[in-house]
């Protein structure tokens, strides 16, 4: 695996600069009480998309920012990278 990611703060860097944070998973709403099944789906199950997915990346060897990338998992083409917004991402 080898591709270039564009950190929203630092710019384009080799993927080895970053830590992959996994696909973005919706956390149950605060104050809700998820069933064991719902909780397990959130904690342990991933969609493992073959296609474009939204995912977390961390610029470990750079500015140490977390950001959100849209990446095609089949081609490693990165369609966008953005810092998380006030609305939250999960």
């Amino acid at each position: 695996m080898s591709f270039v990611l564009s950190c929203p703060v630092c710019g384009a860097r080799e993927v080895t600069d970053f830590r992959y944070g996994g696909e973005i998973v919706a956390r149950p709403d605060a104050g809700s009480s998820p069933s064991p099944r719902e909780l397990n789906l959130y904690n342990y199950f991933r969609r493992n998309t073959a296609g474009v997915q939204r995912e977390w990346w961390y610029h470990r060897s750079g500015c140490r920012s977390w950001f959100v990338a849209e990446r095609d998992t089949r081609t490693n083409e990165v369609l966008s990278t953005t810092l998380p917004s006030e609305e939250g991402v999960r």
Partner: protein, 961 residues
């Protein structure tokens, strides 16, 4: 052997000698020689022994393509003598022959070989009895193979670094097509890198005695600003990144556009005895003559499928080689080279090829014959030609491996008799030169310029003029593309009644056409299966010399067309590369605290702990423990993770991350905290201290510092709270001053009020100690009165010195990690990651008090912990003690009814308590005071008694005193 008179463009410098040793013999070469050319000049003809049959092998390609000249240089095996420059004083040794290269005892495998070593013999013969496999393995490992890697790190000569290079255009291959492509792209303004695996760029021009033309093209490209790497092997295409091995550097080149100008590889012919020393590719023979002024033989026979062989015959004639006869596979060859040969009176057989070479350790004669379409000699057409050189040329096979790795689809082209990239190339990939099937000078250069211009245009360079020129060039190139194939297609193998001995399809792995036939007969009838079974194409040449011959044999044996047989999947590495180049330097960066040199001076035993080098003890761990109990001790805890969490929402942020309440913590107070995941599992632990209304000081475990920082900033990114997290782990050092006399030591160094009333347990104070601004946390990991003093790292040695000096009268001792582990074990303080694992939750880890499910707001892990609190516990983390003095291994099993049902996570002998203590996971029903457990350790059974309270000072009075 004397050299030829000076050749135009020769690479050697006749005025400068180079001396090295080969198997202990002194060899004199010239500056510019390769190991192989110097050895050849000294009369050496056998360069290696083959992989399985230990047959003698000599120079074949002289271009780093085949396995025939692999040697060891200064102890490192796998060096190609034909490309490695001869260096003064180097120690060159042969591989894979005992007792010597000249006389190899294992040649017996060749003489017996045919019947005793059928295809896949390795899998068939050494299966039974199974228990003898270790013996078989030892014998086989010695018998086969390509040399031994140096046994120790010290023997490794190579220390490779890597370099990242971003470019607009990467051109792989420095023949005329590659050079023209690079130059054109550069002229249009692109940032261009060109890599070539030869000692210098030039490709086939160098072989053909046109070195001056090659050098002027290369100089022009260099002057225009093309970065040229040579000798540099492109190892593979990895999602747009090309790894290139160049000397002691692994270049990772990422270019927007790629031009494959990888050329074509001259193919050997397949016939009985085709591996004898003296059988040479036409390009190899020409290289020896043109670059190193060596006469490759005295009397030569030539067998060719294209004009290439005829041109080589003419070139050899010109350096004084007698050409005995030529066999041209084409029924009606024509051209200047043919006319010249016939004018010299050299017999040229049409529709003929070589069917057999004979000789014991070198070619003595070759049998040429006219053959039918299947390669069978026509009755009565054989002629035996005495010769010491047999020049073969089986046509060109485009080097499509890198293109295929990039996503191109090589397919068989009937007319050319070879596999070529068909259809459109992947985006951003261009091809030029012989790899596209071109063989005409003008077409090759033009194709380079077209590819270079296309690549430059693709990165947004160029203008109307360059676009117009590209259009003209492309049109002209289409006109030049050859309509007729350059040569005849050689048969899978050529045979006659006279043919005896082995026909090799693959020289690297010693695979004969007979073995491929057998593999098909046994059902391995696809090229991918046959490859795995016979290992054809899996050797150092990576299919350069054997892919096409193997496919031809497969087609013959299966009755399929070559297009149907197809090729094996092209995988990296395209060129053999030392593993050390891929591994890079054996670096493990060590972190050392600012006090590290003092530990060394005190004679500490220093060990790795996470990424840190830390004192394990100072020589007497028992005395160090007793000092902490009875007087005072000081330990360097600088590796602790340290985070500053600041902002109006800092308290609320920590409340969301920890299962207990931290926003209610008063300024100057400390609370223990466990960090968990949303699955309720324990990730890390540490203390949280409130500095003021908006600021918290968080410590983590030493090994968890990085992960906790990432964890905090991850949630912060999501929640977008008004909080800043700053990692100050390495900015601050810390020491823990502990023991009953710790207070008097500290008191003498600070103006702070140190009494128990003014500075109590779990209080934090900011003030000066020994003149240094400090944050002092009164906590008790080791179970005695203790002060963890945090301060700017620059003052590390000063603080250490002052503390030891001030505590001298009190009997202070420095203590290391090992005493600390015992001290905390006596208090049943867990170490996250040692006593807990990725499955542990706070309930099982006997810390239910830390989870505050009555917190109003959401926190990480809440739901999972709610569910866990409702479940019955399956296991529990407890202390245990034994009376018989045996310390069970950490990891030993806890048995219930004879079956493992838990495990020991920590265990030590406590000199203070006088018995063995430990921590273990046990089934929940045994997690109560006084329960008896059985521990199985290395075949012994130990009885132990469970305790749920700390072994030492269970009420914590010493901590709080």
């Amino acid at each position: 052997m004397s050299r030829l008179p000076p050749q135009p463009g020769e690479r050697i410098d006749r005025s400068r000698a180079v001396t090295f040793s080969f198997d202990g013999r002194c060899v004199r070469g010239l500056e510019g020689d390769t190991i192989a050319s110097a050895l050849f000049a000294s009369g050496q003809r056998v360069f290696s022994r083959s992989f399985k049959y230990h047959r003698p092998r000599g120079l074949l390609c002289c271009a780093g393509q085949c396995p025939n000249c692999l040697v060891a240089v200064d102890g490192a095996p796998g060096v190609r003598a034909c490309t490695e420059p001869a260096r003064e004083g180097m120690r060159v040794e042969h591989l894979n022959a005992r007792p010597s290269l000249k006389w190899d005892a294992l040649r017996v495998t060749d003489l017996l070989g045919g019947r005793l070593m059928p295809a896949g013999f390795y899998y068939k013969t050494f299966l039974r009895p199974r228990r003898l496999w270790p013996l078989y393995e030892r014998v086989l490992r010695r018998a086969a193979g390509l040399g031994l890697a140096p046994a120790s790190q010290d023997g490794r000569r190579r220390r490779a670094d890597y370099r990242r290079r971003h470019a607009d255009v990467l051109v792989v291959g420095g023949g005329p097509a590659g050079l023209c492509a690079a130059l054109r792209a550069r002229v249009l303004g692109a940032d261009v890198v060109l890599v070539d695996e030869g000692a210098e760029p030039g490709g086939h021009l160098l072989v053909e005695g046109r070195s001056e033309q090659a050098r002027s093209l290369a100089a022009e490209a260099h002057e225009a600003g093309v970065e040229i790497l040579a000798p540099a092997a492109a190892l593979g295409f990895f999602d747009g990144l090309v790894a290139v091995w160049h000397g002691d550097t692994l270049h990772q080149i990422r270019a927007a556009q790629h031009v494959a100008a990888t050329g074509a590889i001259e193919q050997p012919l397949v016939f009985a005895g085709n591996d004898l020393p003296g059988v040479m590719l036409s390009s190899g023979a020409r290289r020896l003559a043109a670059l190193y002024a060596l006469r490759p033989g005295h009397t030569a026979a030539v067998a060719t499928a294209t004009d290439q062989g005829l041109e080589a015959a003419v070139a050899l004639l010109d350096v004084g080689v007698r050409i005995a006869a030529v066999a041209d596979l084409r029924p009606a060859p024509d051209g200047r080279a043919l006319r010249r040969l016939e004018a010299e009176g050299i017999p040229v057989l049409r529709g003929a090829t070589v069917v057999c070479a004979e000789g014991r350790n070198a070619v003595r004669s070759a049998t040429l014959a006219r053959v039918d379409g299947d390669g069978r000699a026509l009755e009565g057409s054989e002629i035996e030609v005495p010769c010491d050189l047999l020049v073969v040329s089986g046509g060109l096979s485009p080097a499509t491996a890198l293109l295929a790795q990039a996503g191109a689809k090589p397919a068989y082209e009937q007319a050319a008799g070879a596999f070529m990239s068909q259809g459109p190339l992947p985006a951003g990939v261009h091809a030029a030169g012989a790899v596209t099937g071109l063989h005409d000078d003008e077409a090759i250069e033009l194709s380079g310029r077209v590819a270079g211009a296309e690549a430059a245009h693709a990165v947004g360079l160029g203008d109307a003029v360059s676009h117009a020129r590209l259009e003209r060039d492309a049109t002209r190139l289409a006109e030049l593309r050859p309509a007729t194939p350059a040569g005849a297609v050689p048969p899978a193998s050529a045979v006659s009644g006279k043919s005896k001995g082995k026909c090799f399809a693959c020289l690297c792995e010693d695979v004969t056409t007979e073995e491929i036939r057998q593999s098909v007969e046994e059902g391995f009838d696809s090229i991918e299966l046959s490859k795995r079974y016979t290992t054809v194409t899996m050797g150092p040449c990576q299919g350069r010399m054997c892919q096409l011959p193997a496919v031809r044999v497969m087609a013959r044996e299966t009755g399929l067309e070559l297009a149907e047989v197809g090729t094996t999947t092209a995988r990296p590495p395209w060129s053999a590369v030392p593993l050390g180049v891929l591994a890079g330097r054996p670096l493990q960066p060590a972190k050392r605290s600012s006090i590290h040199h003092r530990h060394r001076e005190l004679g500490a035993n220093v060990l790795w702990a996470g990424g840190w080098r830390r004192p394990y003890d100072y020589g007497d761990p028992r005395a160090e423990v007793m000092a902490v109990h009875e007087a005072a001790g000081v330990i360097d805890v600088s590796p602790l993770g340290k985070l500053l969490v600041r902002g109006p929402e800092a308290g609320a942020f920590l409340d969301r991350l920890y299962p207990n309440r931290l926003s209610t913590l008063g300024p100057g107070r400390i609370r223990y905290g466990i960090l968990g995941s949303d699955a309720g599992r324990i990730m890390d632990d540490g203390t949280v201290c409130r500095l003021d209304e908006d600021a918290f000081y968080v410590t983590t475990t030493s090994s968890g510092a990085g992960a906790v920082d990432e964890w905090f900033s991850w949630w912060l990114a999501d929640w977008c709270m008004d909080v800043q997290v700053t990692d100050v782990t390495e900015a601050l050092s810390a020491v823990n001053l502990a023991g009953p006399r710790a207070r008097e030591v500290l008191d003498g160094l600070t103006a702070l009020e140190c009494s128990n009333e003014a500075f109590g347990y779990l209080d934090a104070r900011q003030g000066h100690v020994a003149g240094v601004p400090c944050l002092i946390l009164r906590i008790g990991f080791v179970g005695e009165l203790g002060y963890e003093i945090h301060f700017p790292s620059a003052f590390g040695q000063h603080m250490w010195d002052v503390l030891l000096q001030a505590g001298a009268d009190a009997g202070i001792r420095p203590f290391g990690l090992e005493p600390q582990r015992l001290l905390r074990l006596q208090k049943l303080h867990v170490i996250v990651g040692q006593d807990t694992d990725s499955e542990s939750n706070p309930y099982e880890a006997a810390m239910p008090w830390i989870v505050k499910l009555d917190k109003e707001d959401d926190f990480i892990g809440r739901w999972a912990l709610e569910q866990a609190s409702e479940r019955e516990l399956a296991t529990g983390l407890v202390g245990f003690q034994t009376s018989d003095g045996v310390v069970p291994t950490e990891g030993a099993a806890v048995l219930v009814d004879g079956a493992p049902a838990g495990r020991v996570t920590s265990s030590r002998f406590s000199p203070k308590l006088g018995h063995v203590i430990g921590i273990a996971w046990v089934p929940a029903e045994l997690a109560r005071d006084g329960a008896g457990i059985t521990i199985a350790d290395n075949g012994h059974r130990l009885s132990a008694t469970v305790t749920t309270k700390p072994f030492y000072d269970p009420d914590g009075t010493r901590l709080r005193s």
